[in-house]
């Protein structure tokens, strides 16, 4: 083997391959958890609680790794938006069911507010990842309700995730927020999810328009995560 050169380690590549390995292991862990959960169907309620805790934490790590890997692929031009027509009512239902366990654990209800015929064009898989981050975050801070809404917007669509919690801190709502500049370790939250969401939104383009995200607070209380797709 060649002499190792510690000055020129390509950390993005190393991190990406480590993240890939970790994600594979977590995938195994999660599916084993599922198998155990299935076997333990008649077991005590207490056990169920542990399962959901384990699954929740494993999912969180898994999501972070997915964000990391997606960003790495994006940088290396290996990630494209596979854009197709998506009906928002169906898409929201999917998210509702996907997060049923989490929402139950937090005792939060997820309401869908969208007209029957709202459709948009995006990569359903990637945008589900964006909403996943927004919903998991909202579930942590909301009092009782999260509202998912979608409305036609300048030829595209405006998707909102609204909660009735204390709202976002002013520093996050400022124009030059961390998630736009990059990931910061100072604030205590790395904002990796928002950083990812911003990039995934921007991957969606149409007729010179680019997708974006916005954070806002509702005058009547609660935070708003906005996703604008062209």
């Amino acid at each position: 083997m060649a002499t190792p050169d510690s000055q020129n380690i390509d950390f993005s590549m190393l991190l990406a391959s480590a993240a890939h390995d970790m994600k594979n292991s977590l995938g195994m862990l999660l599916s084993t958890l599922d198998q155990m959960d299935a076997v333990a169907v008649d077991q005590a309620q207490e056990l169920k609680g542990y399962f959901s805790l384990l699954r929740g934490e494993a999912s969180r790590i898994n999501n972070d790794l997915i964000y990391l890997l997606s960003l790495y692929r994006l940088q290396n031009k290996q990630l494209q938006a596979n854009v197709d027509e998506v009906y928002l009512p169906e898409f929201f239902e999917d998210q509702q069911l996907r997060h049923a366990v989490l929402l139950e654990a937090f005792n939060v209800s997820l309401l869908i507010d969208v007209a029957d015929d709202v459709l948009a064009y995006f990569d359903a898989e990637l945008i589900a990842g964006v909403l996943n981050n927004a919903i998991v975050n909202a579930a942590k801070y909301t009092q009782s309700v999260i509202r998912l809404s979608a409305t036609p917007h300048e030829g595209g669509v405006l998707i909102e995730v609204l909660d009735d919690g204390p709202g976002f801190p002013p520093s996050m709502i400022d124009e030059n927020t961390d998630y736009q500049r990059g990931v910061s370790f100072k604030s205590g939250s790395t904002n990796l999810g928002l950083f990812f969401s911003n990039h995934i939104a921007a991957l969606h383009t149409n007729e010179g328009q680019q997708g974006r995200i916005e954070l806002a607070n509702n005058p009547s209380g609660g935070g708003i995560f906005r996703l604008i797709l062209p």
């Binding site: 994600k23 594979n24 977590l26 995938g27 195994m28 999660l30 599916s31 958890l33 599922d34 198998q35 299935a38 076997v39 699954r55 898994n62 997915i66 031009k77 290996q78 494209q80 596979n82 854009v83 197709d84 027509e85 009906y87 169906e90 239902e93 999917d94 069911l97 996907r98 049923a100 366990v101 064009y121 149409n206």
Partner: protein
Amino acid sequence: MASRESPYKNLKFLIIDDFPAMCKQIERILNSAGAEAIDIVYNGEKALLACSKQKYDVIFADFNLGAGKNGQQLLEELRHRKLIKSTCAYIMITAEATKDFVFGALEFAPDTYLNKPFNQAELLQRLQRIVLEKQAIGPVLMAQEVGNIDLAIELCIAGIQSDPKRRTTYMKMLGEFYLRSAKYEKAKAVFDQVLSVRELDWAKLGKARCHFELQEYDQANDILAPMLAQNTPHMEAYDLMAGIAAKRGDNRGVQAVLEHAVSVSPRSVKRQKQLAYVAEENNDLLAAESAHKFAMKSSEHSMHEGPNMYLDYANSVNKVMAIQGPENSDRFKESQRVLGKVKQKFRDPIVTMRVNMVSSTANKLTGNEAEAKALMEKVASDYALLEGQMGASIGPESRLEFANLLIDNGQQERAQEILKALAADYPDDEVLCKKIDRASSEPLSKLGKAAAIKLNREGKQLLQEKNFADAVVLFSQALDLYPNNIGLKLNLVLAQVQKMQVDGRNAETTQVCRDILSSVGELSSDSEFYKLYQTLKQSL
């Protein structure tokens, strides 16, 4: 909802997962929704068997099925062998960890996905949606299955009117059916209508295909080039671009596009194989070897698996060794290992004979003359025996490989007889004909003959114009395609000799020319090239 009129009561379900507990979980969920006919298998082979006995309406398959086929390879084989009806809903269960490539852009895409971990409600919702979809478009799929494309087109047009929610689905199918029935202008109109609303990849690809079929290569290129620049995961874009390069006679271009395609999606056996063949034609033997190796590895457990995958690879290793010399012993060992595996795996007298052919050449190239000779003798007697028993059904590959082996061992005349008979038996097999012409000392196939006539005309023209440099390039490139062709060899030497008469004599070129002439061997006096050969020999 489940009790009285379950929509799943009369549907037949198949669950494929290597984890029995997972199968049980899915079965329980389906039961709770009123499904009754549910079969469970734990691997791909068992799934193939189950599907050949019974026509299922819904299949749940995990992507990861442990050792053996994966869920995607299984789907390809089921569709290819028509073991599932077109109305069957194939639901692929994926763990995020395995979703490294875009399933949706595959040729054989599943109907829908279910990401692990999933809960009961998610599974049932996904199921309900896909079953409703399959029911709605069922008549179109059935018309297509019995080959009634006109009816399928009619049904799509009606669907666009009556079912606004599935309008795009019907438009996509309609464009596809128009393309398939060669109504390119109509197809283009459909794709254009979609594109006027949104630049969707499938519509862009459809339109590019229309342009391609209408021989409007520039327009097709304009649509495809930006998609390729973005590393699109849609493999059809690369196939079309390679097709354009091929139509323009740009073999290097074909290779470059295919190399790009396999860098984006390395698992396609078909494309790796195409790449290997075109690289061989371009005399890029290292690229050919690498593509054959990839194809061999990806073909494992897939419907493409067979002795040819392994033998092609071993043959390509020989070709590299013939150029690079035997010093790379790892290469030789690897190919010997593969050959051993093939013999074990297929246990068939023809395969064994073909292995011995490759092995004989490999041994010769690595200096094991005695072993090479022993294998050659064994092959010769086996070939005579098997050909006596089976005649032509010994297979075109065996005949071609045997001819090549004879050439390597200086038995040109016998080889030429075999090649002639082979070309006569398979006049319409383009891939095979190319290989025959490549091995042969004269063009034998229809295409090869036409190419030779064209080459000769262009070459003579250049020589008459005293453009010797271009003539040398022309004949050299042609020799890449037909390395054993005597006429081309002599014409190349002729061009070089005439070039030297102008530019002055050059020791290096003279030696190259002498080597080429000696590779032709002695020509008999009744050969059409006898006079030219004698003249050239004297002038050198």
